[in-house]
């Protein structure tokens, strides 16, 4: 049995209604434990890039990759775990703040290079980007002030260097362009 490791998978998917549903349905049905999933447009019109964090033994991750690949709307799946990559997450944190505690919170926020993006009479909203550890540490420190609300995006990741971490062939790009044109 291989020890449980967190894997980062990047999937290029066609921008189509239901594509996220298809992926989510697959994970649920096969009992894959997906820690986070983040989706947005990619550099190619008509394609979205999905970043998935999968917790499990290697064999399970291989199944996630293969099953995902079988979805017709999924163009490419790459496991970039072993690559040198930049992985980031964004969190918005609403923290309880009184006049007495506000400056202390500000200091902590500064140390983490986070930002205050909203101030209310008894709370502040903190915006922070970083890897999961950084966000977890910040949350840990802010806990004592009272976290009123928290939202996290889940990981987005990109391989360092010039080459794409999830390259797709020119033929596929052309096919997507053609489809886009046809569909106006």
């Amino acid at each position: 049995m291989v020890a449980s490791v967190k894997h980062t998978l990047v999937a290029l998917v066609e921008d189509k209604p239901g594509v996220l549903n298809r992926a989510a349905s697959l994970f649920r049905r096969r009992g894959f434990n997906i820690e986070s999933i983040a989706v947005g447009h990619s550099e190619i019109a008509g394609l979205s890039r999905m970043t998935l964090v999968v917790d499990g033994a290697n064999t399970v991750v291989e199944q996630v990759e293969k099953q995902l690949y079988k979805l017709v709307d999924v163009v490419k799946v790459t496991d970039i775990t072993s690559e040198s990559m930049v992985a980031r997450e964004l969190a918005l944190i609403k923290v309880g703040a009184t006049t007495a505690t506000r400056s202390e919170i500000l200091q902590i926020v500064d140390i983490f290079r986070a930002n205050i993006v909203d101030v209310a009479s008894d709370s502040v909203m903190v915006e922070v980007t970083g890897d999961e550890n950084k966000i977890d540490s910040l949350l840990d420190l802010l806990k004592s002030f009272g976290i009123k609300e928290l939202v996290r995006t889940g990981r987005v990741a990109m391989v360092r260097g010039t080459d794409s971490g999830s390259p797709i062939d020119e033929e596929s790009v052309q096919k997507i362009k053609k489809r886009r044109k046809k569909q106006g």
Binding site: E14, G18, N21, S25, E62, L71, V72, I168, S172, I176
Partner: protein, 563 residues
Amino acid sequence: MKLNGAQILCEGLVKEGVEVIFGFPGGRVIQFFDTFEQYPQLRFVLVRHEQAAAHAADAYARATGRVGCCVATSGPGATNLVTGIATAHLDSVPLVAITGQVDRPSLGRDAFQEIDITGITLPITKHNYLVMKADEMAETVKEAFHIAGTGRPGPVLIDVPSDVWVEEAEFKYPEKVELPGYRDVIEVYPEQVRKAARAIASAKRPIIVAGNGVIISGANAELKEFAEKAQIPVINTLLGLGSFPQNHVLYYGMVGMHGMAYANYALNEADLIVAIGMRFDDRVTSKLSTFNSKADVVHIDIDAAEISKNVKATVPVVGDVKGVLTELNKDIEKQSHADWLNQIDEYREEHPSHEIRECANILPQNVVGTIAEVSGGEAIIVTGVGQHQMWAAQNSIINKPRSFISSGGLGTMGYSLPAAIGAQMGRPNETVWSIDGDGSFQMTLQELATIQQERLPIKIAILNNGYLGMVRQWQEFFWGKRYVATPISGPDFVKIAEAYGVPGEVVTDRDEVKASIEKATGHDGPYLLDFRIEPEENVYPMVKLGATICELFEQPKSEVKTW
């Protein structure tokens, strides 16, 4: 040329070579049905329940290798297809299911007979579509048939809002599909084939497990050449029956839960398993942790996700079985495994697995065996699910592909009768035997009306034991003989058949089995035989629950007789 959505779909069906559509009308497909008059080359078969439409289309596909096609209206029509679509999905059957949907302005408003059928069928289709513009119809049909029929086949659903049927669009049928995320041609890695050949060359006790993939790929000849050259014994999964000639000296029967004991022994003792177009289903492996772990596994399958899903492959070979075997056969040296074959022959002598007992009543094994005898092993056998299915699998003679049609993965009771319709439509000049149980038959017997309406000469053999027999057998073995909800009454099947215009007879005397089967065979048209069989006959062998495939219940020796 401007056509409406319904016409474009019909044009597409004609272009894709569809000859027959099974289905049932309704409010949201009236517009589609209305165009049938303009397309007389599309034969429409009206079934009596949408589930039957899906099963018939599925069996048509299994019997012919072409893509089957069925249609139903929105809401309950669509949900009734679900069991049939799931059946096709689990057994890799190419199927295009068309459903009507509420009109676009009503979508999402819980309109009358609105159901999210693309959502419902997400996990049981290879892909599905909701066509939101008539302009997308041609491309959708082209893609649907391509996806259903290529690679690892499977069902595709096309959902059409009713106002899209009548919307007009410029019609131009695409020549090819542009699917960036779909790989229909899988390149075989020569290095993997060479690795497989090396593993085969060094094995002492190799075995071939041939599954449905061999049949789908049309690789029977290649499989035979491979087995003969390398002198490797061949065993079949349930859906692999017919992929290898059963009278061949290297053939050792079906494997698995109700497989031949000697086939299971051989699989368990092998040092190399060559798995071809099969997926190590739990009915084959029994409990995975008990499955042969000393063997190397060469796994040939077109679906990469099947490799090492259940049983770890030592040598994965992803590709179409026919293409892989063609390459492999070039690399295979003539071999001999005389000792190993002798050993399996010994297993077979010790555990013949085909034995039946002395019995005053009709035995089901005998009925199936006689059908095989009378038809010379040339009939297409279509089963339901349960004990009769296993007796049919064990005792039929299936020497050619696409001739044993059965719901393997999903295990859908009620499959036989509607599936027989599809099989007979696909192969009109061959004898189709629907071998069914009295429980299974009662789930879809309304299709007798379809059989009569279409004048299909299907022969129906009901192995009637008054029980939901497979569950009863489990209750006998594992649940203290508490027969809860398994004794099942039925109507007088012969009278039912007669009411539908299908003649038939009850057979109670074991000496009349053969004559009745001959009579049914010779009858010009459909015929039903209601065999009253030994009520508590069991299916042997049977792998014990959670055990290795070698721990089996076998026919008690004291009761054995030969026939």
